[in-house]
């Protein structure tokens, strides 16, 4: 009976961990092409979730809300690239770090002013009555998170492997200068990566919203853990973020059971500290981690 409880906790936690994995995957996408990431990605998750909530409130059916919210995420991602990243990369500078943080803060203020400070429930047609698998309860809602995450990541990976544009994306990631010599525009490819990163972040927001509720602060904790997952898994393995995401999710759930829910955020932080201590240069490379 006791073992079953442990497994139950681990499974529920791991399913939540998939959300960290998806956000971390968004970091990987832009890091691959440009060696930069959006430090305001949490706000992007949150704004996309709030926008989707507005779509629901306006009476749009759920199956239209999802693509609508994702489109909004793409637009935000493209905006971040244009406003905060492009010029600084052209000058081979690190200005994007500060600029993306500032954009995030602006996004946060905007959210407070437009949607208010309260957390609100996010209605979803997906039921939360548990299903039983071998004595373990899993709600369709939790399952939808895992399925949604794997679907989005699978589609992006398929795009990268099967289309020429996707191969160009990989080429820019492998060697930006050589890719340019093939006629591939690095600028456009980086733009594309920010668009995709915005898309997966929005998807993460929509998937997690029914579980966490929606408000300006909804992503502040999420983003820290996504960051841990990205640093621990490394910034080039999509498979790695899923594994680490599952692991961290399960670990958190067990920690809060054994040590009390106040310790819930500890594993993510400890993991991050360990990863940075063991690999002092960090996965972001020497230059950027020093400044972060």
């Amino acid at each position: 009976m006791y073992t079953l409880l442990i497994v139950q906790l681990a499974v529920s936690g791991a399913l939540m961990g998939m959300v960290y994995a998806l956000i971390a995957y968004g970091f990987q996408l832009t890091f691959a092409t440009s060696k930069s990431i959006n430090f305001g990605q949490g706000e992007l998750v949150m704004l996309s979730a709030l926008f989707s909530l507005t779509l629901i409130d306006s009476g749009l059916p759920y199956w239209l809300v999802v693509p609508g919210g994702m489109l909004f995420g793409v637009i935000l991602g493209l905006f971040v690239e244009r406003a905060a990243v492009r010029l600084s990369l052209e000058q081979k500078g690190e200005g994007w770090i500060l600029l993306t943080i500032i954009l995030g803060l602006l996004g946060f203020s905007a959210a407070e002013n437009i949607w208010g400070r309260d957390d609100r429930p996010f209605p979803t047609p997906i039921p939360s009555d548990p299903l039983h698998f071998f004595g373990i309860d899993v709600t369709p809602l939790e399952l939808s998170v895992a399925i949604g995450v794997l679907t989005v990541m699978g589609l992006v990976e398929l795009f990268k492997r099967k289309t020429l544009l996707g191969k160009a994306f990989e080429a820019v990631s492998a060697d930006r200068d050589a890719a340019q010599l093939m006629g591939i525009s690095a600028t456009r490819t980086i733009q594309l990566s920010y668009g995709l990163s915005g898309l997966v972040a929005a998807m993460a927001g929509i998937l997690v919203a029914p579980i966490t509720t929606v408000g300006p602060t909804m992503a502040s904790v999420l983003i820290l853990k996504a960051f841990s997952v990205a640093v621990v898994a490394g910034l080039d393995s999509g498979f790695g973020v899923v594994l680490i995401g599952l692991f961290l999710g399960a670990l958190e759930s067990l920690t809060s059971f054994y040590l009390g829910s106040g310790w819930r955020e500890a594993p993510g932080l400890v993991l991050l500290i360990l990863a940075l201590a063991v690999r002092p240069n960090g996965v972001f490379g020497k230059a950027s981690i020093r400044k972060v």
């Binding site: 020429l164 492998a174 340019q180 006629g183």
Partner: protein
């Protein structure tokens, strides 16, 4: 086909290239030779847009391109196979080749079918690449990577090809193979600017040659002419 006029370029504040002018006529092979550090690679980079020239003009098929981004110059028909090969290591041999033809293929679907004939052409030239078509390019030997770099540049069907030290770091027997490939390409009528350390072999395939020294072009002429020049004999063909 390619004309460079009074080109000046450098890195940061130091000027490396001083007043470079050269011409590559359609269907000809032109060699660019010179000691290490003379500025041959820098010249190629300034032509292909990897490095923005400070002054001067680059005309590709009659069109001024020195202001353009490298990817745009590539799309206009210049294929630059850079020093050190720069193949896309994690990608397969075939993907590398397909990306060579990027500018003239559909982006999403049907690109394989459209590139099939040209792929076969490259595989006919380099059968070894066909055997290894699904292998990651980074795991190829140096010689095979050079074949891939040349094949990738050919896939774009360029108006002009720049080839920077294809023999770098290769065993003598492979170097011979590289030069026989260049001779075969020449028979097909390719327009080529070739940088080579093996000045002797380069002069054997070239129709015309330029000699660089400390960022300037110091001698130019037909191979026959250069072979009689004492300075060239002493410095490069000794």
């Amino acid at each position: 086909m390619l004309t460079v006029e009074n080109l000046h370029a450098g890195y940061g504040t130091s000027e490396v290239l001083v007043d470079i002018s050269l011409e590559v006529k359609a269907g000809s092979v032109v060699a660019l030779i010179g000691a290490n550090g003379a500025g041959k690679t820098t010249t190629m980079r300034a032509i292909s847009g990897m490095l923005k020239p400070n002054r001067g003009r680059v005309l590709l098929d009659g069109r001024l391109v020195q202001e353009f981004d490298a990817s745009r110059i590539a799309r206009l028909g210049l294929a630059h196979s850079p020093e050190g090969r720069k193949v896309f290591g994690p990608l397969s041999v075939e993907d590398n080749l397909l990306l060579g033809a990027y500018s003239r293929l559909p982006r999403f679907f049907g690109f394989r079918a459209r590139a099939a004939a040209d792929l076969e052409g490259v595989y006919a030239l380099f059968p070894r690449l066909k055997e290894r078509r699904l292998q990651a390019a980074g795991t190829l030997s140096g010689g095979e990577q050079q074949m891939l770099a040349i094949g990738r540049a050919l896939m774009s069907k360029p108006k002009v090809m720049l080839l920077d030290e294809p023999s770098m770091g290769l065993a003598p027997i492979i170097v011979q193979e590289v030069f026989s490939t260049i001779r075969r390409l020449k028979e097909t009528g390719i327009t080529l600017l070739l940088v080579e350390q093996f000045a002797k072999s380069a002069l054997e395939v070239a129709d015309y040659a330029y000699v660089m020294d400390r960022g300037r072009i110091v001698i130019e002429g037909t191979p026959a002419h250069l072979r009689e020049d004492e300075r060239v004999l002493a410095a490069y063909l000794g």
